[in-house]
């Protein structure tokens, strides 16, 4: 009893000291905020990194839009977004952008009698469902894609992310590419005006609504579909091949991306060519200030990202994310050396051995 209370008091004092001493003694605190899509893998990395180095990374998954806003307002060391900023936007806000991790968005359905991986969908059909033009599961368009399936006469309940999110951006970006109607009527953004269906908050909200409502179709980040054992659909990709969502097909989509040709790494991985490419794949980006107010914190953050690139692949794999290829990592670290303003006449990033 007394021992416990002593420990409590001691840790409380230590905690207070940490707050009082602030940045000088605890410069090893890095704050970040943004996308919910990569949150599971960032949290995992942060935990492992803290065990190894004692550096604490505080990442708040408030969504891509929130991440962009927070980094612009300089309240965090780094922001995270699944929807990349255009080079001119980066220039204007004085930000450096680089991709950290990739993953896939997966359509999930709740139709009685349909098992995971059985239902086949293509982009235009999915777009018409979300436009409200296909309203029943036994519609001819869905039947034509699934001649062997027994599809019920059941109303389709399209479920979407009601919060603005990178997942929304990837999904609407894909549908806009495959459907002119969708591009004109809805467009692509982290948050759009959906003509039909119902909204739910976050990946977990969409997963929950889709599991609860008979006849629902939704889209979630792959880890949610897998962990909740949801019924995923098989998609037809740009090459006309049917593909299952898994790290292999996400990687295939990522492989063809030409990161070097795009300033600010403005690459969107939806609807990529390739026989094995999953059509709704995306990268998640980190945003940092070129000229940060606290260069030491930014340097700590870069050390963490470097560590994650070097040691985080397996952890990412276990959570069904796709690590960035080594070639891209090299390129990103190049960007770090030249992209940031100099600190006391030296580059912000001088390699991993700091």
């Amino acid at each position: 009893m007394t021992i416990i209370s002593k420990t409590v008091i001691r840790s409380a004092i230590a905690g207070l000291a940490g707050i009082v001493l602030g940045s000088s003694a605890y410069a090893q605190n890095i704050s970040g905020a943004g996308a919910t899509f990569p949150y599971p893998v960032y949290a995992r990395w942060a935990q492992a990194y803290q065990q190894e180095t004692g550096t604490n990374i505080n990442y708040q998954s408030i969504g891509s839009g929130g991440g962009i806003r927070q980094i612009k307002e300089k309240t965090v060391t780094f922001g995270a977004s699944d929807s990349p900023l255009k080079p001119e936007e980066l220039e204007q806000a004085g930000l450096v952008q680089f991709p950290m991790i990739m993953g896939g968005v997966v359509p999930v359905v709740n139709v009685p009698g349909i098992q995971p991986g059985q239902l086949r969908l293509d982009g235009p059909t999915l777009a018409n469902i979300y436009l409200g033009e296909i309203t029943s599961w036994d519609d001819d368009a869905i039947k034509a894609l699934n001649p062997d399936l027994q599809l019920p006469d059941l109303a389709i309940a399209p479920v979407y992310r009601s919060d603005g999110s990178g997942t929304n951006f990837l999904f609407t970006n894909y549908l806009s590419q495959v459907s002119e109607d969708f591009k004109e009527q809805v467009g692509s953004n982290t948050s759009v005006q959906w003509p039909t269906g119902l909204g739910a908050r976050g990946n977990e909200g969409v997963a929950a609504q889709t599991s609860q409502i008979q006849g629902a179709v939704g889209y979630v980040e792959y880890a949610y579909a897998k962990q909740n054992q949801m019924t995923n659909a098989v998609m037809k990709n740009k090459d006309g091949q049917w593909v299952e969502p898994n790290s292999e097909t996400f990687q295939a989509a990522a492989a063809s991306a030409d990161w070097s040709a795009n300033p600010g790494y403005y690459v969107i991985l939806t609807d990529q060519p390739g026989a094995k490419s999953w059509p709704i794949t995306g990268a998640s980006f980190i945003l940092m200030h070129r000229q940060p107010q606290d260069p030491a914190a930014s340097q700590s953050a870069l050390r963490f990202f470097h560590w994650a690139y070097m040691n985080g692949d397996q952890m990412a794999d276990e959570l069904d994310y796709v690590p960035m290829p080594d070639k891209v990592v090299d390129q990103v670290e190049q960007t770090w050396t030249t992209g940031f303003a100099e600190v006391n006449g030296e580059a912000m990033w001088t390699g991993g051995q700091q």
Partner: protein
């Protein structure tokens, strides 16, 4: 000796009057603080809402469009959803609360009063997110598979009002949100009704019974008139909660910026829209539009409370004259 004690008591009196003044100004400060906070909230809401209201003008409260891509925003569907869910909640909550309160104060055997009373207070203590989760995971699927198809096939077939109960059964929507809200406001209205019903002097009721009144007549003609201020207060508290409730509604309302022709259709409310979208809102207009929604909710709540006050004043005048 006497002179000394007189001076002592004189200084004591001075000290006491000083203390009194300090106490008075301290309490006055706290009271004024409430006004300052309220005013501060109002001013910052107006300030935040100005860009949106300046851009869209009156269109903001007359258009249904809510499109972050093109930066066009209109508040009609969240306003509609807020009022409609609150209305359904009141339609469900008031009669049930009234029934429970009457049963507890007039009819229940003494051994049942306490447990039911405690159960109602516990109901009030359940966090709203729990109602939301329960609504989504337990209530909505049952509703989708049983009650909703039944409503669609019966009332839904009636001309004119049928439209309100038509459409595909999704289990969630404005109607479901209203029902969940109705359950959530139950304990607030019930416990206030019960408390005020208990303030009716037994003599008054016994006199009515002595004149041969039935229980119904006693409740309707003696208890209710005697307690109407409290009853209206309880209903207003429930209505206030129903208008502003966020988490539970977000779970079951469908979060769609549309006004469906059916009550069963997904919709949204002001607080649900703000909770859902504020974190991820990018761009001045989008954020400003959400704050403008907050301002509208402020106005709606204010208007409702003001109307309630006016109604109470009228009632008092009538009974006084």
């Amino acid at each position: 000796m006497t002179a000394q004690s007189r001076t002592l008591s004189g200084s004591q009196a001075r000290r006491q009057s000083l203390m009194d003044k300090a106490f008075q100004s301290a309490t006055a400060f706290f009271a004024v603080l409430v006004l300052l906070i309220l005013g501060g909230v109002f001013v910052s809401l107006v300030q935040g809402a100005l860009p949106a209201l300046g851009t869209f003008g009156f269109d903001f409260v007359t258009t249904q469009v809510w499109n972050p891509v093109t930066d066009r925003f209109g508040a009609v569907s969240p306003i509609y959803g807020t009022l409609m869910t609150a209305l359904i909640a009141m339609a469900v909550g008031i009669p049930i609360s009234f029934g429970i309160a009457v049963f507890l104060t007039e009819l229940a055997p003494p051994w049942l009063k306490r447990p039911v009373g405690i159960a109602i207070e516990l109901l009030a203590g359940i966090p709203s997110i729990i109602y939301g989760i329960w609504g989504l995971f337990v209530f909505a699927p049952i509703f989708q598979q049983t009650l909703q198809p039944f409503l669609i096939n019966t009332i839904g077939q009636v001309p004119v009002i049928g439209d309100l109960f038509s459409g595909p059964p999704f289990g969630i929507g404005i109607f479901t949100a209203g029902l969940i809200l109705g359950i959530m406001v139950l304990p607030f209205i019930t416990s206030i009704m019960r408390d005020v019903f208990e303030t009716v002097p037994p003599m008054v009721k016994e006199s009515a019974y002595g004149l041969g009144a039935t229980t119904w007549e006693v409740v309707w003609k003696v208890v209710l008139p005697y307690t109407r201020v409290g009853v209206v207060g309880g209903v207003m508290l429930g209505l206030g909660r129903a208008l502003g409730e966020t988490m539970a509604v977000t779970f079951v309302v469908g979060n769609a910026h549309r006004i469906g022709n059916s009550l069963m259709a997904p919709g949204t409310t002001i607080s649900a829209a703000i909770a859902n979208e504020f974190n991820e809102a990018v761009g001045e207009l989008y954020i400003s539009s959400l704050i403008a929604l907050g301002l509208i909710l402020f106005f709606i709540t204010f208007t409702v409370l003001a109307l309630a006050k006016i109604m109470l004043m009228r009632m008092q005048q009538r009974s006084g004259g």
